[in-house]
Every structure is written in C-alpha cells, then in structure tokens.
C-alpha cells in the first residue's frame, strides 16, 4: 500500500521556504516562566537574570529554518484510517484523521531552530550549571513552538489569499499517530530539508525541531486539540486537560 517513491518533491511539487527572524517571535520572560511557579510566588531574581542573559544571545544562537510543501490530500476513512497525502499513506489514527478529513490539500511542514541552543544547554550542564542549562533548553523549546506558530500563521495567510481555510496542526507523536510515520512525512521533502535529519527511531535532529501537517480546503475547520476521544483513557495529559475543557495543551504550554 505504501508508495513513498511515487511522489518526490522537487519533481513538480513546490517547496516553500519561510524566512523567520528570531526577533519577530517576540519571546518574553513570561513565555519562558509560565508554569514555573504556582502563581502566588514569583521566581528568584537570579533566574530572571539568567533568562535575560540567554535572551541577549538568541540572534547568534538561533538559526531558524522552516518550510513546507503542499500536497493533494485524500482521506479514505474505510481503509484502516490511513490517509493519503501526495501518494503516501499515513497511519494518523482516528483522532487526527477526523480533524483533517475535509481537507483537499495538506501543508506538510518542518521547522527547526538549529543545533546551537541544544549544544549550549548541554555545555552548560557539563559546566555544572543545571538551572541555566534547563532555562536555555526551556527557552529553546518555547522558541521552537513560537517559530511553528509563525509558520502556521504564514501558511494560513497564504491560503487565505486563495480563499482557502486551514486546520490546526498535527504531528507524528500526537494522539495515536506513531512517530515512525515521520519517515514517510520526510519522504515528501527534498533531501536535508531545513537541515533536519531523522534517526533510526524517527526522531529529528536538531532536537529543537517540529514537523507536522496542516489541512487545507474550503470547508476545513480550525479546532482545538482534543483529549476526550483518545483511547489512552488514564493518560496524565488527559487527566490534566479534560476536566475543565476539551482542549489539550498545545506544544510548549508547560
């Protein structure tokens, strides 16, 4: 069934690279510190100093690369919940498929902030500065998610020009879409797309990278993430988020 050789971007499928400057992401101390306190107490001044110091180096340490390809999409819901994007069959699982099913096209995207922040964080840990290392890592994670937000909005804007709507974004690893499908997803990109490599377990390097799909079409809806339909009934993500709302934390909302 899986025919990953049939479609090759570069041979007709347009590849879009999106330029993202770290200064446009407007990261704030609040972004980095959310969930790092119980709301009644603020963090020690020392940590704010460290974060400011980290912020001063972002232009030099973050090399954001982002891009996407647009592929025709086809959802054949009877065939084992496998969705066809381009000529590739993804095993997205019930939940993700249901969110995307009205899409006629799919933006398949990848985004990374490069390896420098993770190397810096590792180095800081080796120097016995675990708190600094954590704050670098945390800043890097927030920036990765903000860069993807930017890319998502950019794609939305481009589609709006053609009177098309977009869905929320979904990544291998979310809900029950296996991470191993990342190999299929990357087969839609040109070689070394955004400088991201996959390892044998289908994980991306640089680590601060996100990949995924966004549905496109005249009838698609942007829906918040849902936990209440997942089959892993007692997962902590679910317990944390289903109680009050039907939305699951999105990306970096620690």
């Amino acid at each position: 069934m899986i025919n990953s050789a049939a479609i090759r971007v570069g041979n007709g499928t347009p590849v879009f690279n999106v330029k993202i400057d770290v200064n446009n992401l407007k990261i704030s101390i609040k972004d980095v510190c959310s969930r790092m306190s119980n709301g009644t107490q603020s963090l020690d001044a020392h940590f704010y100093e460290i974060i400011n110091e980290i912020f001063a180096h972002l232009s030099e340490k973050c090399r954001i690369r982002a891009g996407y390809v647009i592929c025709p999409a086809d959802f054949n819901l009877t065939s084992n919940r496998k969705s066809k994007v381009g000529n590739i069959h993804f095993n997205m699982g019930k939940i993700v498929t249901s969110q995307l099913k009205n899409a006629v096209q799919m933006a398949v995207f990848a985004c990374t902030i490069g390896p420098d922040m993770e190397n810096w964080s590792r180095h800081s840990m080796e120097q016995d500065n675990p708190a600094e290392s954590y704050l670098i890592d945390r800043t890097a994670s927030v920036l990765t998610e903000k860069a993807v937000d930017y890319l998502h909005e950019y794609i939305g804007g481009e589609m709006a020009k053609q009177n098309l709507l977009i869905t929320n974004r979904y990544s291998p690893g979310y809900c029950d879409w296996p991470v191993s499908d990342q190999h299929l997803l990357f087969s839609l990109f040109p070689h070394n797309f955004c400088g991201i490599r996959l390892n044998a377990s289908a994980l991306m390097h640089p680590i601060k990278s996100v990949s995924g799909v966004i549905g496109i079409g005249p009838d698609v809806e942007f829906k918040e993430y849902m936990c209440n339909r997942c089959r892993i009934k007692e997962c902590t993500y679910r317990r944390k988020h289903v109680k009050n709302t039907n939305t699951i934390i999105r990306g970096i909302a620690l």
Binding site: Y134, G173, C175, D176, V179, S201, I207, I232, C235, R239
Partner: protein
C-alpha cells in the same frame, strides 16, 4: 544533629551553593554547601553524617517539588548545592569509607528524546545517595539489558513522554523481566499512570522524582 549539619541540609533544600552564589536572594553573602562541608570535614564530622544531612535536604526539596511549592529551577539549584557537597566527599567514596545506597539505571525509552523529566529524576535520586547510570534518551531495550547485566543488583527507571512510546516502554519492561527477573523497575513520565504501569508489569510508578527515591529506598536491598 549539630547546627553545622542542619545548615548544610538547609542549604541543599534552598539550593545555596557557595558564598559567591547570588541564589537564593535572601541568602546572599552567606556561606553555602561548599564552605560548610569543608568546615564540617575540618571539624571532624563523619562523612556519613554529612551525607545523611544531604539526603535530608534533598528529600525536603523533593517533597516540596511534589507539592508544587518549588519548581524545576529551584530543584536544579538544590542538585547543584548537593554536587558541591559531593565534591568534598569524593575522597571518602574513593577510600571506601562511604558507600552509595545502590545503583539506578535510568533512561528515556526508544523513540523518545524528551529528557527534562528524566534528568530531574536522575539528580534527585543521585542527591539521595544512589549512583545513577544515565543511559540518555532514545534508549533501545538491549542497551537497558546490558546495563542491568553490567550492574548486578541495580534497579531500573524508564521514562516516556509520548503516548506512542509507552508501547516501547512496555516492551522494554517485559524484555528486562525475561532476562533479569529479579530486577526492580519503576516507570514514569507524563502520560504514564499507576494503572498503565501495573499493566506493563512494572514494580513501581511515580509522578515525581521523590517517589522514585521512596521506591528505591523501600524496594531495593541496600548493599
């Protein structure tokens, strides 16, 4: 407990490393674990007494973390304060006067590279007197098994952050069980729950690092 020993425990709990350290704000200019441990050794206080004080401080901060009274950066500063003590105690470990409580092989399972939670577990467990063998992230079952074989009597901790990698966690638990039936295994990570841990056949589960310490102290024979 002597005043000095109490102070060492308190500095660990608060993450006060040395006099130079600006953290925490209300303890600026005060000596930290570095100076106090040096002083304690000079005064002839036994290294075992110092180590016990450390475990006490680490336990307190670990419990506070579990109750959401302190957060990741504070816990990491406590770990750093603990490391400063360990630097002074190294010679006693080398001479055999001090022994670790046991060994704990830890890693994030195959297919997963989330490591912040695992690193916290590693630091807190280490701070409580255990030797941690951290295998890193995306760790294949075979690697866990060889580490267990190389470290007889160790316990194992597995971390997973993706719901999809919980399946790998289960496979790793059964494979370790099959090869080394007596080894105690604890699992954790946000999507893991007590029920899923039981279903996987793990011996323990904890939503936070301090729970891993309690599990180790209770279920692994100290030798």
């Amino acid at each position: 407990m002597s005043e000095l020993i109490k102070q060492i425990a308190y500095c660990i709990e608060r993450g006060k490393v040395n006099k130079m350290s600006p953290f925490p704000n209300d303890m600026k200019e005060q000596p930290g674990t570095d100076e106090l441990t040096k002083q304690a050794i000079e005064e002839g206080i036994g290294p075992d007494v110092i180590l016990e004080a450390c475990n006490d401080g680490m336990q307190k901060v670990g419990d506070k973390f579990g109750r959401n009274e302190v957060f990741v950066p504070e816990l990491l500063m406590a770990a750093k304060a603990m490391n400063a003590v360990m630097e002074h105690l190294k010679p006693f470990f080398a001479a055999g006067n001090l022994k670790v409580k046991g060994k704990f092989v830890l890693g994030t399972v195959a297919g997963d590279l989330h490591d912040i939670g695992k690193n916290l577990v590693s630091m807190v467990v280490e701070g409580n007197g255990w030797q941690v063998i951290d295998l890193g992230v995306d760790v294949k079952t075979e690697k866990f098994i060889s580490a267990v074989k190389e470290n007889p009597g160790c316990a194992v901790g597995l971390s997973a952050l993706l719901t999809t990698t919980m399946a790998n966690m289960e496979k790793t638990v059964s494979a370790i069980r099959e090869e080394c039936p007596s080894v105690k295994i604890i699992v954790g990570g946000a999507p893991v729950t007590m029920n899923s841990a039981k279903r996987m056949g793990a011996d323990g589960y904890s939503p936070d690092p301090q729970g891993a310490v309690t599990f180790l102290n209770q279920s692994v024979s100290i030798g």
